[in-house]
Amino acid sequence: MGALQSLPGQPEYIGLAEKTGFSFDQIGVLHKRFKQLSHNEETLRRDHFNEIPDLACNPIRAQIIEAFFDRRNYRQNAVGMVEEISFEEFLVVMSHFRPPSPHMTEEQRESVRREKLRFLFNMHDTDNDGTITLEEYRHVVEELLSRSGALGKETAKSIADAAMLEVASISMGHMEPDEFYEGITFEHFLKLLDGFEIESRMSIRFLNMDTTTLCK
């Protein structure tokens, strides 16, 4: 089924495969899913995402959806938000989640790592000023904990504060009392998640088979 559908689109897939690194099969599966989500239209809008029932209980759904409409994630040095995305952009955003290949040199691994961290950083840095400020961080933590019920904003806030203090201590070392920590820059972010194996954690095994019929 998936193979049949993907056959006519094969030539256009070549360009996509080169750009994103997905195999034809994977692109075919994702294309089918894209069609399913967009109700056979050419573009996806935010409300299409909001209709996905599985996603509904994800605490950071909003951030995930925004990431798809963020030009920074399209690998073309653009900024700003878009209203609707085509399959190509959908695929490019997805390609951030490709697992690292086992045969990589250290430099390649490092660049994959940077790229994935950049995606994460962009997700937190909503106003695109190059730093994750305390408010932005608080927002992330609040969203994360929003499903935990009675915890309330106070806890989230104090956790974010503590986390921020931690960042400050990690990235700046000892700070003088009159110094002010602006927010997490990308460099600090790299340093902060230094031992965090993002290249393996932020990876999804994209299937070659079509399982979308099983999902809602």
Partner: protein, 827 residues
């Protein structure tokens, strides 16, 4: 330095002396019954010494008149527990001995050392013609020695990585073990067909039985190495899980083949029955484990009034699961593992922190004892028992064990790799294959083989050979080899809030993206299970069933650590005096900040200590009496700590934005201060603590790292909870000392938000934390009283550089008043 080495040598010598003494005890104890042997009538054939000794006392009444003995000795009565105790003691002393010079255990695995000691003891026993203790029988092993070992691995199984890799783990454990047993068994059977080797009488069933025994890997030594060099999580959990579950598989195979080995002819229907039985045994074990695990969790829901016996439930239920499974001849190993995994999560939330610690320690202790004894016996048996040495059979066993292990990993990995997100590279596969050491269970299984198996001695010899070979050669060389290979590593001690937050973010993101792609993975199932868990299981099984995010729990843990640190290096809160510990920290920090080192006179230290004990210790007692902490220990504690955290954040916020604290008014850091000759040391301390806003976190993280939080001995219990009782204390004492520390400052009562913050903020009014936070949120209400009058710094301190705060906030997190809406709202 020299003295320390000397003392080390001395202690070592002392331990050896003790070991010798203990050995003497052992032998003298055991020689006793032999001496009395001649006096017994000779009609009892001397087969087993134990048997003899039981009979021995009966001989006495005939020979002696019934007069009241003044001094009697009834050694046979106590023999078994007595010797057992001595063995355990000896093994424990050996363990102490290894760790005196800890570099030994880095390079040589402990199991090697234990076997070596066993060999030495065996040699001594052999030279005095002593029989090895006949303690290790099949029943003893399966009923008493195996359960603790398995319970330990099940209980300390790192749950999350395990479930993330459960497919791979089971694949290696089940299929890998089958592969090894059948492969080795068949190839050995092929070898047996050659006449030259002289082992034709070993039939296929016995070969398979033997192969199933030696295919049980026991990677304790490898795991220690893996943990030390921080090998990546995937390999670690695969080795761990493989070691755990192939015990189960091996025991099943063992009993099956042992049964088959009895049959004269094996029909094809037996094979199918065997396969069916394999599954019944496996799934039955899991079912029983789940059942008992949930019952145990449910029971601990009601134990909060009988905290003393809480740990008992854990042990009794898991043992019960084991025994019941054994009763129905289903996999008892799987039952106890599943039971432990199931109940751990719920039990640890239900029981008090102390019980939790007790449980962990006892589980570890029992398994250590059991394992140590087995290794020990291995050494002893190697020397003392009769061996049947067949070069060909033993060498081929070694060879095949190697080849099939390597091949198995290679082939199985090629099959499983396409299903894994993170694939195993060849280096990883080598690590997996090389980590397959054989150990205690293998020996115990072969040693308890029924004696009707011909060539049993050959099997024992071959197993011992393979164990000693793998444990010594592989165990010692695995560390250098892995380090040379530069295998993929993980930084394990990332115990920071940020990492936890991002772990969670990552989970949700990945889960969301997978939902978008329309595929399922373990995140999907994890999500589903979490919902089910929150909705049903927690409600039923937990007393306090509010769901708690892992971020919050980590946060609380860090808070706890932080609070402890605050206690250790008091910011003047509890008392204005530092403890000895804090002095230590202080010095370290001084080094870090390249401050000139201060020397404290012994008298000063003692004085501080006095103040500390006066202010802290008694209050601690009092608090214990007042608040019935046995009722809601965790909650009340964490609440205190959260409040405390609020308070400390609030303090730092205010410190920055309002410049109220003298220490903040006076510039920069301590290096600009000097103690005036007449200055009071206490006030000095109180002041210096003020300015440590950032250092606090530094210290916290440093401490976390140094505490070496490891996955396996998962560290929640490391946090010494008991210190927390000090948090709540009456303010009066602290206030006393703090005021005395600031003799020239205005009394704290003068202003509501006193400029000398030591007494009020940290003493009795923790509860005001929330209110104060509220103040921060609505600054219009609370700002006025907050602003303190400008104070001269206390007389004891003389700032060398008056360069005060033209630059606004000291709190690093807040924007300057000009920079952001929030900051301006705040100042």
């Amino acid at each position: 330095m020299g003295t320390s080495i000397l003392s080390e040598v001395w202690t070592q010598r002392g331990v050896f002396c003790m070991l010798l003494l203990l050995l003497l005890c052992c032998f003298s104890g055991k020689c006793e019954p032999q001496e009395s042997k001649p006096s017994t009538p000779a009609n009892v054939p001397t087969v087993k010494p134990l048997h003899n000794q039981i009979n021995a006392p009966q001989a006495f009444p005939e020979e002696e008149r019934a007069s009241l003995p003044v001094f009697t000795m009834d050694y046979p009565r106590i023999q078994v527990p007595f010797e057992f105790t001595l063995w355990v003691l000896l093994a424990s002393f050996a363990k102490i001995g290894f760790h005196i010079y800890h570099k030994i255990t880095i390079w040589i695995p402990e199991s090697c050392l234990l076997i070596t000691i066993g060999l030495i003891v065996g040699a001594i026993m052999h030279s005095v013609k002593e029989e090895p203790p006949a303690v290790l029988s099949s029943n003893v092993f399966f009923l008493y020695m195996l359960p603790p070992i398995v319970l330990d691995s099940g209980y300390f199984m790192p749950t999350r990585p395990f479930f993330e890799n459960i497919g791979t783990v089971l694949w290696y454990a089940v299929v890998g073990t089958l592969w090894n047993s059948i492969g080795i068994g068949l190839s050995l059977f092929a070898i047996c067909q050659f006449e030259v080797f002289g082992v034709q009488d070993i039939n296929l069933q016995e070969n398979l039985l033997f192969a199933s025994i030696i295919s049980a890997v026991d990677p304790v030594a490898a795991l220690n190495v893996f943990e030390d060099i921080g090998v990546n999580e995937q390999i670690y959990i695969v080795i761990f899980g493989e070691g755990l579950f192939n015990d189960a598989v091996t025991v099943v195979l063992y009993s099956m083949f042992a049964f088959l080995a009895d049959l004269p002819i094996v029909e094809s229907s037996d094979v199918f029955l065997g396969v069916a039985r394999f599954f019944v045994v496996g799934f039955g074990g899991v079912l029983f484990g789940l059942l008992f695990g949930f019952v145990a969790a449910f029971t601990t829901r009601f134990t909060h009034n009988v905290r003393q016996i809480e740990p008992l439930f854990v042990f009794m239920y898991s043992y019960l699961a084991y025994l019941v499974a054994e009763l129905f001849a289903i996999s008892s190993v799987l039952a106890i593992i599943t039971c432990a995994i199931t109940m751990k999560y719920y039990v640890e939330e239900n029981v008090s922190q102390r019980s939790c610690t007790t449980i962990r320690h006892v589980v570890k202790m029992l398994s250590t004892v059991s394992e140590t004894l087995i290794f020990f016996f291995l050494g002893v048996v190697t020397i003392t028992s009769e061996h049947e040495w067949n070069w060909a059979y033993i060498l081929f066993t070694l060879l095949f064990a190697f080849i099939w292990r390597g091949l198995g990993i290679l082939v199985l990995t090629q099959i499983i790799n396409p299903f894994r997100t993170i694939q195993f590279t060849f280096k990883d596969q080598f690590g997996l294959a090389y980590g397959g050491l054989r150990g205690a269970i293998c020996f115990a299984l072969v040693f308890t083989l029924p004696s009707n198996i011909n060539r049993r001695n050959l099997f024992v010899t071959a197993s011992i050979a393979i164990i000693i070979f793998t444990v010594f050669i592989q165990g010692i060389s695995i560390r250098p080899i892995l380090e040379y290979l530069n295998i993929r590593k993980t930084n394990k001690d990332l115990n920071t809030i940020n990492v936890e937050i991002h772990t969670r973010v990552m989970e949700h993101v990945v889960c969301g993206i997978e939902d978008l792609c329309g595929q399922w993975s373990h995140y999907y199932w994890k999500d589903k299970f979490k919902k089910f868990n929150d909705r049903f299981l927690r409600r039923i099984l937990l007393r306090d069933n509010r769901a708690e995010s892992s971020i919050v729990s980590l946060y609380k843990k860090l808070e706890l650590q932080n609070a402890i640190d605050l206690l250790d290096t008091p910011m003047g809160d509890i008392s204005a005096a530092p403890s000895i510990v804090s002095l230590h920290d202080e010095k370290k920090m001084e080094k870090e900040m390249s401050r000139p080192k201060k020397k404290f006179l012994a008298a000063d230290v003692r004085k501080m200590h006095d103040i500390l004990s006066k202010n802290m210790y008694k209050i601690r007692q009092k608090t214990m009496a007042y608040t019935n902490k046995y009722n809601l220990p965790d909650e009340s504690r964490t609440r205190e700590i959260l409040i405390r955290r609020h308070a400390s954040i609030r303090r730092s916020l205010r410190a920055g934005s309002f410049h109220e604290m003298p220490a903040q008014n006076i510039p920069k850091s301590q290096k600009y201060y000097s103690l005036q000759p007449g200055g009071d040391l206490e006030s000095a301390f109180a002041l210096r603590r003020r300015s440590h806003g950032g250092g606090e976190v530094d210290r916290l993280s440093a401490r976390l790292q140094s505490s070496g939080v490891s996955l396996r001995s998962s560290s929640r219990s490391l946090v010494p909870m008991r210190r927390l009782n000090t948090i709540k204390e009456s303010g009066s004492a602290g206030e006393q000392s703090a005021t005395s520390a600031y003799p020239h400052a205005p009394s704290p009562g003068a202003h509501r938000r006193a400029p000398v913050p030591a007494p009020r903020r940290r003493s009795s009014d923790w509860a005001e934390g929330d209110e104060d936070l509220a103040d921060l949120e609505h600054p219009s209400g609370g700002v006025q009283p907050l602003r303190p009058p400008q104070l001269p710094p206390p007389r004891g301190w003389l700032p060398e550089n008056q360069d005060p705060r033209e630059n606004g906030a000291g709190n690093p997190l807040l924007r300057h008043s000009s920079q952001g809406p929030r900051g301006s709202g705040r100042s």
